[in-house]
């Protein structure tokens, strides 16, 4: 089943000549078609990467994310609407349904206008919180563009982010400075594992509404790196949702602008590269893992016959081998997946709780995939176990493989026979001496029968 799906996707990818691993139909939701022109570099970049762009206004009657119950588009790029809300076709419920059906979404916010309550409640469902004051923007008095925001300090200049942790791959790193004008900040709920910050505000930043008075320090809800400029949500089905705080950063103007930080040199922005990284990641051009074949079998010398592969049933204390083939998609091709340095791909052999948790070692690789494998002895406990590979890391699609196998007890003829145990020889000797004695006795008895009869008579 999984194979068929993978093949189908490959075929699909090949047919439409798209780069994304999950389709090329991209819907851009624009409030005003005149606005379209200010993002022309972005559009052409996206089209150049094989996307099939359609533009709709949120008010449009034709706009619908679904056709006949299926997704009408693979990806969605929402630019902040001027009006209140996104209209009847893009209610939060629709957007979540779109996510649930594996659609990917980039949602751009803007600090220029206040964010609509529909978007706010949509983000709330995802545990992404906007500032209480919906018009707040991020201000930083140390990292701002001296050329364009000398007074307001609301154009942030940031380095592209490095890897989130040492065991996570970096997808957004690189040289250069990003310019992010008028960022609507987000904060992330602390208990969701699906959220990951892509770009955090500097520690010296804070948020406030420039139209109002400078707030007292008590009113500032969150500051510094608590504020997110760009955040990512990857749902359990690996659908991706990115919130970009500053829509202006995507404009042509900022793609080609040069900026100068306080005490810095004047440098061109790398917004264009970052936009590519961001849309590329969100639309599944990077960070996509695919599991190829999964094989498990008894450990044997030499080749394993096809019929011995992936048996449904093992016995306790069997020596077992498990292989999993993993590929990663990087922009336009599948390459072997390599686990980041500090990380491990792990296999669990579980029944209710793991009996084994083993690191899978890379053993071989093909052009497009790496094979990880391990070998272990099934525990001394019968039951229905499963091989589980559960690899969920930020920015990588989830691997959650679960293969049930039965581990049975020793069959009656798999125990050592009595004669194979030296301790049993005594009893065997005893038993056979009894039987031998019996036979001898019977023979003697039968021979002695006539005399016994005589003896009886004489008595």
């Amino acid at each position: 089943m999984r194979w068929c799906l993978a093949l189908l996707i490959c075929a699909l990818v090949a047919a439409v000549n798209a780069l994304s691993s999950s389709g090329s139909r991209l819907l851009v939701v624009l409030d005003d078609t005149t606005e379209k022109s200010s993002y022309s570099t972005l559009w052409s970049d996206l089209e150049g990467r094989g996307y099939d762009l359609s533009f709709e206004s949120p008010k449009s009657d034709q706009l619908s994310l679904f056709a006949h119950g299926e997704r009408a588009y693979d990806h969605l790029l929402i630019l902040p609407p001027k009006s209140k809300g996104l209209g009847p076709a893009l209610t939060p419920k629709h957007i979540l349904d779109f996510l649930n059906k594996d659609g990917n979404i980039v949602l751009a916010l803007s600090g220029k206008s206040s964010t609509s309550s529909a978007i706010s409640s949509l983000l709330l469902e995802l545990d992404v919180h906007l500032s209480n004051d919906r018009s707040a923007v991020v201000i930083d008095h140390f990292n701002y563009d001296t050329l364009s925001a000398a007074e307001k300090h609301d154009v942030l200049l940031l380095q592209r982010p490095n890897a989130l942790r040492t065991d996570v791959k970096a997808f957004f790193d690189g040289e250069g400075v990003l310019a992010l004008p008028r960022v609507a900040p987000q904060t992330l709920g602390s208990d969701s594992q699906l959220l990951a910050p892509i770009l955090k505000a500097p520690t010296t930043a804070y948020a406030y509404n420039p139209k109002e008075e400078m707030p007292s320090p008590d009113d500032i809800e969150s500051t510094g790196s608590q504020l997110n400029v760009v955040s990512a949500i990857q749902a359990r089905n690996s659908a991706r949702f990115t919130v970009l705080g500053s829509v202006e950063a995507l404009e042509d103007k900022w793609f080609s602008a040069s900026v100068k930080a306080p005490n810095g040199k004047k440098v061109p922005t790398v917004n264009r590269e970052f936009a590519k990284q961001l849309t590329g990641w969100t639309f599944k051009e990077t960070g996509v893992l695919k599991v190829g074949k999964i094989e498990h079998h008894l450990a044997t010398d030499g080749e394993v016959a096809a019929e011995d592969l992936n048996p449904k049933i093992y016995r306790i204390k069997n020596e077992t081998v498990f292989n999993i083939e993993v590929s990663e998609y990087v922009y336009d091709k599948w390459v072997p997946f390599e686990v980041p340095g500090d990380d491990k791909l792990q296999l669990e052999f579980t029944m209710l709780s793991p009996f084994h948790r083993l690191a899978l070692q890379p053993t071989s690789r093909t052009e497009t995939s790496a094979v990880y494998s391990t070998q272990f002895v099934t525990p001394d406990q019968h039951g229905i176990f499963s091989f589980r590979v559960n690899y969920k890391r930020p920015f990588l699609t989830n691997i959650e493989e679960k293969h049930e196998v039965t581990v049975r007890h020793f069959a009656h003829d798999e125990y050592p026979r009595s004669w194979a145990i030296s301790g049993g020889w005594v009893w065997i000797a005893g038993l056979w001496s009894v039987i031998g004695g019996f036979l001898a006795f019977v023979v003697v008895w039968l021979y002695s029968a006539p005399t016994a009869d005589k003896a009886k008579k004489t008595q």
């Binding site: 419920k93 209710l352 019968h382 229905i384 049975r408 007890h409």
Partner: protein, 738 residues
């Protein structure tokens, strides 16, 4: 065996020949009647396996037939007790399955195309015919009167106490076990009477067969040693006893150890120790007898006393030591509950929760045995009068099994044979005396009267005299009347009480026409056709075997209650809040939850009525998390209506049972017809489960366990969002506070 003893009867003069022929015809008729009366269920309903356990036996038999004996022996069943699995081959009594498998293959060999299901359905009636024959043989050993055997066979054939477990479709271990029980006893009596190794060995063989068929073999294991022990105490030791018992014990014990499930139990378990003790005792007595042959009395007594004291002390100390050190397992729980009816209730709720393990209600004796129950003491009295070895056996058997039958409903089954024997003895004595006795010659009349008066004190008045035609006619007439009433009663009970498959229910519509309620099968077939092959179904254990058999889906727990903790886990999941239950369900890979709800139809055997048992069993393992007290109101009532406790209302079982039930009624009018109460107007909320299927009469409700929310939300929040509710601001404040 029947044939050979019948052959004996056929020998002799032509009169005996006719009598023998008549006897065979009568026996065959009885067997036919026994079979026929058990076919009510097939006629009323259809050829279907009944109840719960038979479904497992049926499934196991199918496995045996399909995969052969060896893989049956090593069968590891991964479709029950998920995810533990069950070593089925080593934990069942294979006698029943092997028997029907053999019958099936023989029929196949004879090129009779037959479905294994029909073999299974008809096995119990077939064996009940054999039981009647075995009963005849057993009773013939007790009495010289041939009518006793025939009567006993007839009683055994139709008595409801036995029919209850052997109607067509009741494919349970008891179906063949009662035949084996009776036949083993017959062989044992034969062995004791003849003192022959052969009979003893045959008894051991059938005992082994019995062991392979039913856990109730322990009854034989204790009854026979007790018989021997009592004989010894009565000073009736003879070499015949020695031969019969030692042969039986040595061979029978070895034979029983061949069954994987029994294994080393016969020398480890205290239940079996009596047999071993008597075996040792018998050796001593035999040796003493042997020595006595050579010695004058005085010295012998000296020798004996010292020997007895010494060995008794040693043996007792050894037994205590072994039991304390754990080499010999302590008495099993079911056994304790035999002695102390309150024991199970306190210590092992799982045993107490089974309705068949409840103490018997007194009317049940009359219901199951009718007038046999008052002929029974008379028969036992007659046994006291004769008091040969075999009569001692009947007496012991009668005393023991009466007690046990009073303790546990299902042991009524072991009582039934001895009641039939005793009643037949009594009745045949009465009939023989009144019908066969010709008027004695005047000179012997006085003597005969004296004898009769002595033996039947109080049974009749000596003034009338038993030789007059009137008294003969009166007594035999009344006896015939009783017999006819008995037959009518048996037929009525069989057709009304014991022929319901309980998978298919029958009820009467107001106009008197019969309605078949087939919700169980409807739901099981829905599962079979609409769920993936390895979808795990959680239900209370009562339905485990049926789900395994009919729906062919893996279950968490079933009627083989070998793992109390696992059952308690299910009980906990059912009786806790959703937030607690959901992780349990996820951990056990549960895909669907099945509950039985009788509220709409008034079907009282539903899960809410069993709910307290689930709570109790769960409380046994998690006393801190599940408390029975919380399910009762402050006034100590078990309520499901508006005044039910919050714990009750929040429990998964309550929610599943009443989910959407209110929508069937006008607002505020919802009524539970089993418990006869009006329900709250609001339907309970289910967040982590969604309704998948509800059968026609709402008896079975199946719920699907939701996956984790795709966006990482709590289920309650996701459900609220889907209903269009705005998320509360409070949650945002909380999140921001970090």
């Amino acid at each position: 065996m029947a044939k050979s003893s019948l052959d004996l009867l056929l020998k002799g003069s032509s009169g005996q020949n006719t009598r023998g022929l008549l006897r065979i015809v009568i026996l065959l008729t009885i067997a036919a009647a026994a079979v026929a009366s058990r076919l009510f269920s097939v006629i009323r309903f259809e050829s279907i396996i009944h109840e719960f356990d038979p479904w497992f036996n049926f499934r196991a038999t199918k496995y045996l037939v399909e995969n052969g004996f060896y893989s049956f022996w090593d069968w590891f069943d991964d479709r029950t007790w998920h995810p533990l699995g069950r070593v089925t081959g080593g934990t069942l009594y294979p006698g029943l399955m092997v028997t029907s498998g053999v019958i099936y293959h023989i029929l196949r060999f004879l090129t009779i195309p037959v479905d294994i299901r029909n073999v299974c359905v008809l096995l119990a009636p077939g064996f009940s015919g054999l039981t009647a024959l075995a009963m005849y043989l057993l009773t013939c050993e007790m009495s010289t009167s041939p009518s006793a055997g025939l009567l006993a066979a007839a009683f055994m054939g139709i008595t409801p106490g036995y029919i209850s477990r052997s109607v067509a479709g009741s494919y349970d271990n008891e179906a063949i076990a009662i035949f084996l029980l009776v036949f083993t006893f017959y062989l044992w009596i034969k062995a004791v009477k003849n003192g022959s190794i052969m009979w003893g060995a045959l008894a051991a063989l059938f005992y082994g067969y019995m062991v392979s068929a039913w856990g109730g073999y322990v009854f034989i294991t204790n009854l026979i040693p007790l018989h021997v022990f009592v004989l010894l105490c009565m000073g009736r030791y003879s070499s015949r006893t020695y031969i019969a018992y030692t042969t039986w014990y040595a061979l029978g014990t070895l034979g029983s150890m061949q069954i994987p499930f029994v294994g080393f139990l016969p020398i480890r378990n205290s239940d079996h120790m009596a047999a071993l003790g008597v075996f040792g005792l018998l050796q001593l007595v035999a040796f003493a007898e042997f020595v006595r042959g050579f010695l004058p009395g005085k010295q012998f007594q000296k020798l004996l006393t010292s020997m007895v004291l010494l060995t008794f002390g040693l043996g007792f100390a050894g037994l205590v030591l072994l039991t304390v050190s754990g080499v010999i397992a302590p008495w099993s729980g079911r056994f304790y509950s035999l002695w102390d009816t309150g024991y199970a209730k306190i210590h092992i709720p799982i045993i107490a929760s089974v309705s068949e393990h409840q103490p018997t209600a007194w009317p049940a004796f009359f219901f199951d045995l009718n007038f046999l129950i008052w002929l029974f003491p008379a028969g036992v009295f007659l046994c006291f009068q004769k008091l040969k070895d075999e009569h001692v056996f009947v007496i012991i058997y009668a005393v023991l099994s009466s007690y046990f039958a009073g303790v546990m409903v299902r042991l009524m089954l072991t009582l039934t044979p001895v009641v039939c024997v005793a009643a037949a003895l009594a009745l045949s004595a009465v009939l023989d005396h009144f019908l066969v006795l010709s008027k004695p010659s005047p000179e012997s009349q006085a003597k005969a009267n004296a004898v009769d008066a002595k033996s039947y004190q109080g049974m009749k008045s000596p003034i009338v005299g038993i030789y007059s035609h009137f008294s003969k006619a009166f007594v035999s007439g009344s006896m015939t009347l009783y017999l006819l009433i008995f037959v009518a009663h048996c037929t009525w009970v069989t057709s009304n009480a014991y022929s319901s498959p309980s998978v298919v229910l029958a009820s009467r519509a107001p106009d008197g026409s019969q309605m078949i309620i087939d919700d169980y099968r409807e739901a099981y077939y829905w599962l079979r056709q609409n769920t993936p092959d390895n979808a795990k179904i959680m239900s209370w254990w009562d339905y485990g075997y049926q789900i395994g058999g009919m729906a062919d889906r893996p279950t968490l727990v079933d009627n083989n209650t070998w793992n109390n903790t696992h059952i308690a886990t299910v009980g906990k999941a059912m009786s806790s809040r959703e937030e607690v239950s959901y992780p349990i369900l996820r951990q056990h890979d549960v895909d669907y939850v099945l509950v039985v709800f009788g509220g709409l139809l008034g079907y009282s055997g539903d899960d809410l009525n069993k709910f307290l048992w689930m709570v109790r069993i769960a409380e046994g393992i998690w006393p801190d998390e599940v408390k029975e007290r919380d399910f009762f109101t402050a006034r100590g009532e078990y309520r499901v209506d508006e005044e039910a406790t919050p714990t009750m209302k929040n429990s998964l079982m309550y929610k599943m049972s009443y989910y959407n039930y209110q929508s069937l009624f006008p607002s505020g009018q919802a009524v539970d017809r089993v418990r006869g109460v009006r329900l709250p107007a609001e339907s309970p909320q289910l967040n982590t489960l969604e309704e998948a299927f509800t059968s026609e009469n709402w008896i079975i409700r199946i719920f699907k366990v939701k996956d984790l929310d795709n966006l990482g939300r709590e289920h309650s929040n996701a459900v609220a969002f889907d209903k269009g509710l705005k998320r509360k601001r409070a949650s945002k404040e909380r999140a921001l506070a970090f």
